[in-house]
Symmetry: C2
């Protein structure tokens, strides 16, 4: 097949995009409008223990200001609550609300469904193999999202 290196990159990108676009669309259908991957990962990070803006920034490899902006959105939509920390007046403690847990659960289900779809097309063993290979190549630091802008996607059409 002799694909080129650039094609390989494109392949990876396309895979990611098709997964994420589908997930976002499905979530929108379920009523969680305009929910971005960034939000999902922020929620995850908060659950995992990032209970302040600065902390979230560190964990998601982003400036604390950027994290604060994300948090502002999540709070405004009711996915996260932010109350002053009684023990440290500088901080505001972040907590994921029940609604936040809902959207996270739904998101998980959506991704699972998408993965299952791929599994049907490729076979269980083959998909597992693909994942294992990718993990080998990428190393195990997949957790770091580390890519400002990676979630930007504003599907629109020009001049209908």
């Amino acid at each position: 097949m002799a694909r080129s290196g650039a094609d390989l990159a494109l392949l990876l990108l396309s895979g990611f995009r098709s997964l994420v676009d589908a997930a976002m669309a499905e979530l929108a259908d379920r009523g969680y409008d305009d929910f971005r991957p960034t939000h999902e990962f922020a929620l995850r990070a908060i659950i995992a223990g990032a209970d302040s803006a600065s902390d979230l920034g560190r964990r998601t490899a982003v400036s604390k200001q950027a994290a604060a902006k994300t948090i502002a959105v999540l709070v405004q939509r009711g996915y996260v609550s932010s109350e002053p920390d009684p023990a440290d007046a500088r901080r505001k403690r972040l907590e994921v609300t029940p609604l936040g847990l809902d959207v996270l659960r739904e998101g998980e289900a959506v991704f699972e469904e998408l993965r299952a779809r791929w599994e049907r097309r490729l076979g269980v063993a083959e998909l597992a193999r693909l994942e294992a290979d990718l993990a080998t190549l990428v190393g195990d630091d997949v957790v770091r999202v580390d890519a400002p802008g990676w979630a930007a996607h504003h599907p629109t059409e020009e001049a209908p």
Copy 2:
């Protein structure tokens, strides 16, 4: 291994990013500073026949204004020339300059080298298999980049 669907997405993203980041860094080392994937793909599209801004926009699934901006950069750096079309006064004909061809060639080499590195780590057959699987999943419309913002990446550190 039982990875989740979201992890799969992350895996794909990480793969893409690690490839592209490395490629950009290497190109910068070779003297093509601040060359973005967008530029690479714009050049490719122009070579492939997109000889006007609107045309480029259509081919790269981006508004003609965005395409025009990209072109402005490419022209300013000497990678693309833009002359009025004698046959149609509305158009400006785009052409990739020798310098543009250079950078494209270099880019190709860099990606090839990166792919070879992965090949060494995974084995020739296994990488081919991975590519084939991805191609199956993604379909054959990989050509469409179709992701505004997908190339945004501004590596920076907060407060050293």
